[in-house]
């Protein structure tokens, strides 16, 4: 009898711990954790029935109503290109060139996937406002008071690429994705 009670307690403890781990992974996850180039990660099967349990649950929590890869790729960066966590107190330069997509945009979110309370609601910039600029490409300032402003605290960048092509569509290593350079902090 006592053994039965202990087994039941162990099962319940395991259930609670397993559920807690799952929730922690969903909350700490991104729109897909597979590296695709530089600081960018992607969810290979986001929005499809083929998505794994963890991907589907994480996307439901952190990017509900995400489109499948044939329509849009959602690349996420939580670090700069040197691997340091993105920090809203720091200034960055994001540099890039042509993105293999019909159109694309960069959006700043907090760690929970919410837009920041920044002046004039300047949350995103994309191919409509940042012409590819030929061989020199494009660049945009990111940080406090910058063209793409941030607030103190951790933040994330999401690169949306609609109607992706080539490796971006395939979700495999993609050269030439935007570089995120830290210029200084404080």
């Amino acid at each position: 009898m006592r053994t039965g009670l202990l087994v039941a307690l162990a099962l319940l403890t395991g259930l609670a711990a397993g559920a807690g781990l799952a929730i922690a992974q969903m909350r700490g996850g991104t729109m897909g954790g597979e590296p695709i180039g530089g600081p960018w990660t992607v969810g290979a099967k986001v929005g499809t029935a083929e998505a794994g349990l963890l991907t589907r649950a994480t996307v439901a929590l952190r990017g509900l109503l995400a489109l499948p890869p044939s329509e849009a790729r959602y690349l996420n960066a939580t670090t700069d290109s040197a691997g340091a966590a993105l920090d809203g107190r720091c200034r960055y330069r994001v540099k890039g060139g042509a993105v293999e997509a019909r159109w694309w945009s960069l959006t700043v979110y907090d760690g929970e996937g919410r837009l920041l309370d920044v002046p004039a609601d300047r949350h995103s910039l994309g191919s409509a406002a940042l012409p590819e600029g030929g061989a020199r490409g494009w660049q945009v300032a990111l940080g406090p008071g910058a063209r793409l402003p941030t607030l103190p605290g951790p933040f994330e960048l999401t690169l949306r690429a609609y109607h992706p092509r080539g490796t971006l569509l395939a979700g495999t290593a993609t050269p030439g994705l935007p570089v995120i350079e830290k210029r200084g902090c404080g």
Partner: protein, 172 residues
């Protein structure tokens, strides 16, 4: 001493079960909450055209400020639903339908639509729909249909709004 392996096994089995059950249940739970909240705010089975998202107005995670959204939270329990989307010339636009598990059940974009309106019927497998109408079968009653229209700038919403208001969803 023989109890220890038994307890360890129970802990591991419980842990694996709790982990997998939580991940499996989360999308349905989250979609259920999203549909419920939308229904309270704007009603079920009708298309609502929301203003471009701002910090103050965001209601879902990771919204795109570049897109004008129209949404139709739906429930097929009472019957199938007709969705009609008006094309917006010169802009990327798409209709996507998300099922009760958050999977994409249907997507049609401006290129695929070739400038024509999109008309589809959402239905459960057991629900008949009029012939000649494109049919999208769903495994559950509830979900969300979403129209996305790309804006070159926030100011474009004035020109886009009268067109997107021609898009609607309603019970068949």
């Amino acid at each position: 001493m023989k109890r220890r392996p038994l307890l360890l096994a129970a802990l591991l089995i419980g842990g694996a079960g709790g982990y997998l059950a939580t991940l499996a249940a989360a999308p349905g739970f989250i979609m259920g909450v999203a549909v419920e909240r939308s229904a309270e705010a704007i009603g079920l089975n009708r298309m609502t055209h929301v203003a471009p998202v701002t910090f103050a107005s965001q209601t879902i995670v990771r919204p795109s400020p570049d897109l004008a959204y129209s949404s139709c939270p739906f429930d097929l329990a009472a019957g199938p639903l007709l969705i009609e989307v008006a094309p917006v010339p010169g802009h990327y636009w798409s209709l996507s339908v998300f099922d009760h598990r958050t999977d994409t059940a249907f997507v049609r974009n401006d290129v695929q639509a070739k400038g024509r309106p999109v008309r589809v019927a959402l239905a459960r497998p057991s629900q008949p729909t009029p012939s000649g109408l494109e049919r999208v079968e769903l495994g559950g009653d509830r979900g969300i249909a979403l129209v996305r229209i790309l804006m070159a700038s926030r100011e474009e919403i004035g020109a886009i709004d009268p067109i997107r208001r021609q898009s609607r969803c309603r019970p068949l």
